[in-house]
């Protein structure tokens, strides 16, 4: 399986993503934001970080960068595009995913482990994953998902909500919502479910010496589903 990770100026989880993808069997290439062409890939990843210093709005300038035109084309033709954290913000800025990511409700950067409930398994990202609840790590200042009522209805009607913040028992309540996200939404798909944006970082939890191993499950499952 071939993957590509886009590096924007200010990306800072690009290497971590590269390490994770390779660890679970992807042949990964790094792609510079100023390039026009994408290498042949089965998966494109927009990594976390502070692309263009978060200037203007998180993800907004990256959403207009050179390479993003090819990413949009790739996504629209059904290719798998995964945006983590800042990558999720970029995907909403391009319009590939609905909604926006506002500043966290407590107006503070939050770095901690959270639980998320896998809300839909009819997609290549979560199909066959055994667990219902994953423990993942978040690290962001703008992860407070919001969308219009119409968009929300559309998301719910089409099972486009991918993961929701919950507690260890799987209850999605106010206490388990770290950032004020609408309906505890931590990640969403497009209608076709080839595009996934989510705030949690699976690439930071890929062995037992780190914060946890559920990120490893995510990648193992993903490459399995692509085979």
């Amino acid at each position: 399986m071939k993957s590509s990770v886009i590096i924007f100026p200010g990306s800072n989880c690009d290497r971590d993503m590269d390490v994770a993808l390779k660890k679970f069997g992807f042949k990964n290439k790094m792609v510079w934001h100023d390039d026009n062409e994408l290498p042949k890939s089965d998966l494109i990843v927009l990594p976390g970080g502070f692309s263009y210093g978060d200037y203007l709005r998180c993800g907004s300038i990256a959403g207009k960068s050179n390479i993003i035109k090819s990413v949009i084309k790739f996504a629209q033709s059904g290719g798998l595009v995964l945006g983590i954290c800042n990558g999720f913000q970029i995907l909403t800025e391009t319009g590939l995913l609905p909604g926006i990511l506002q500043q966290n409700k407590n107006i503070e950067f939050i770095c901690k482990n959270v639980h998320v409930k896998v809300a839909d398994k009819s997609n290549k990202y979560f199909k066959n994953i055994k667990k219902e609840i994953l423990e993942l790590h978040i690290a962001h200042n703008e992860g407070n998902y919001f969308c219009s009522n119409n968009d929300l209805k559309f998301l719910e009607d089409n099972n486009q909500i991918a993961v929701k913040y919950c507690n260890a028992k799987g209850n999605c309540n106010l206490e388990s919502n770290p950032n004020g996200a609408l309906k505890n939404i931590a990640g969403v798909f497009n209608k076709e479910k080839n595009i996934l944006g989510m705030m949690p970082h699976p690439e930071r939890m890929i062995d037992k010496y780190l914060s946890g191993e559920d990120g490893a499950l995510f990648f193992q499952n993903l490459i399995g589903n692509l085979g």
Partner: protein
Amino acid sequence: MEVTEKIAVDHGLKKEEFAKICELLKRIPNITELALFSAMWNEHCSYKSSRKHLKNLHTKGKKVIQGPGENAGIIDIGDDDAIVFKIESHNHPSFIEPYQGAATGVGGIMRDVFTMGARPIANLNSIHFGSPQNKKTKNLLRGVVKGIGGYGNCIGVPTIAGQTCFDESYNGNILVNAMTLGLVNKNKIFYSKAAGINKPVIYVGSKTGRDGIHGASMASAIFDEKIEEKKPTVQVGDPFTEKLLLEACLELMADNSIIAIQDMGAAGLTSSSIEMASKGKLGIEINLNKVPCREEKMTPYEIMLSESQERMLIVLEKGMEDKAKKIFDKWNLDFAVIGKTTNSKKIELYFDKIKVADVPINLLAENAPMYDRKWKKNKLPQKIKFKKEDFKSLNLSDCLKKIISNPNISNKQWIWNQYDHTVMGDTIQKPGGDAGVVRVHGTNKAVAACVDSSALYCYAHPLTGGKQVVCESWRNLISVGSEPIAITNCLNFGNPEKEKNMGEFVECVQGISDASKYLNFPVVSGNVSFYNETKDKGIKPTPSIGGVGLIKDYKNMITMDFKNPDNIILVIGKTEGHLPQSIFAREILSEKKGPPPEINLFNEKNNGESVAKIIKEKLVEACHDVSLGGILVAIAKMCIKGQKGAKLNNIKSLTSKYEYFFGEDQGRYIIEVKKENLKKVNELLKENSVHFEEIGKVTTDNLSYNNVLKISIEDLNKTYTNWLSNYMVN
């Protein structure tokens, strides 16, 4: 403009220093030259009050690749890997403008590290604030934490450990000390010593603006009511540009085109150009019209004193300019050839084709004043003996709760949850432990780092306090299973022109030196921050020590959380029950007098090495050093972190239980061992003549002692955790 004595004094120079400058130059300097002198001769750059004493520090060791005197210190961790690290203060700016002050402190220390060719892999910080009741404290804390996070998070370097203290002596002068560790191949280290004549001098990074002018001299001044007016001297940080600068510099460093490189920190272009030339015994010529400026009509004076952030000065091999420029173009950074090295041994500045400064380098650097300031010896305070009646009305449970919710002990999660501590994917011990630990990427090795200070001990007796901080750092590193290698120190003190403050400095440095020599734990880098004084009130002497250790196989790392019920809890080291200067004496008995706990370096070393040995033999399940608050606080924290309880035995010691549980005797550790390993542990400890006691066992819930203490872990955790978040919200 004719430079007068008054103008010189306004620039922070003393009258006699100005006279000396005129004598050395054999003329009156012009305003640009005065700017150079004021920057280079101030305390911050010249270390004029501290140099004499810093020479006494223990700085050598088998693993030391680079000691003090460079951008940062470097230690060897084997297999061609080396760790570059340093701690630095950004106290004065952070008090005036907490967000930018703290942010640029982090930015500055990271530049010091990547200037040497290292990729930063971990950040730490030690921050000190005034009393929580002081009306400024909350906003300062909020701003500083946001600033540290704002910068480090954006660059993508994990903040893995830190320390936060509150004490009224910081009401008018907070301390923000930032530390960075970087990883470098020991054959690819870059230094700031220029070499060769006619080599191009390159400016890269952000453009130069008017921010931070006089920053270095502000950092060497005492605060008064007009401090708000100094706001424009605080630099403004842009972590995004620094991230680009980091990547561009590391890309350029991959080939052999750099001769010397130096970041523009305090006193900006002035100190960076002069230091590079001085170290290479060369001259330097700069055309100031070539310096990329962000504001119009900047004068040579302003360009030379600007402390705009995210800038570097490079001496390049001739002919490599185009190749280097391409890299900086790719990262959208300014790149300008602004001058060349010369054999004149002078700094010569040109602006609009006129020579605006012409000063021999040695007058600015080596000839900077060095003072042997008068200092007063500090006597060891008289012993205080507590009587049985002092403890009569106390309740063990209430005392424990009061102490673990004390601002200086309680959980600082509110702070470190705002720092990205997991980016780079190698953080295996997060903040909240004895030390932060990151893996050396792609290897079995890991590096442990911690930062400590103990101003109360240093204030009571600087010599003992200085030793204690080094020992505490050593213990923290031992506790996570690492081999302590070296330290960096940030020496925060009051006004060196006062004999008392100077005495505190001299004796703390002596203490640091004694302990680091004995423990073979050398100082490889550091900085001094004097004049932490407002309206005649100085801070308590506060040396912050950053320690670094190596874990050869990260799978053997130790954490402090209790692991399994029925395991045995041991106290390593002798408990005498020393209460004076303890948090218990202060908070429960309201007694602030008396000597700090004594440091016995022999026991310290023996106990530490013995604990390291039993850890190496894989006989230890959990380990935590006993520090502020004593044994009971240490055990409570181990319970909370492990979500386990502990049942403590009847103490055999002759001291009162309060002295036993809350005394702050040094050189002690709490360890958890499996029953089946107890015998072997006993033998090993006895073999090394280490005093130890079996104090109890791990249980599933409740921390209990006889019938006088029984607290559920949930209750304990709430008490420990809620203070800071409640304080910040209300």
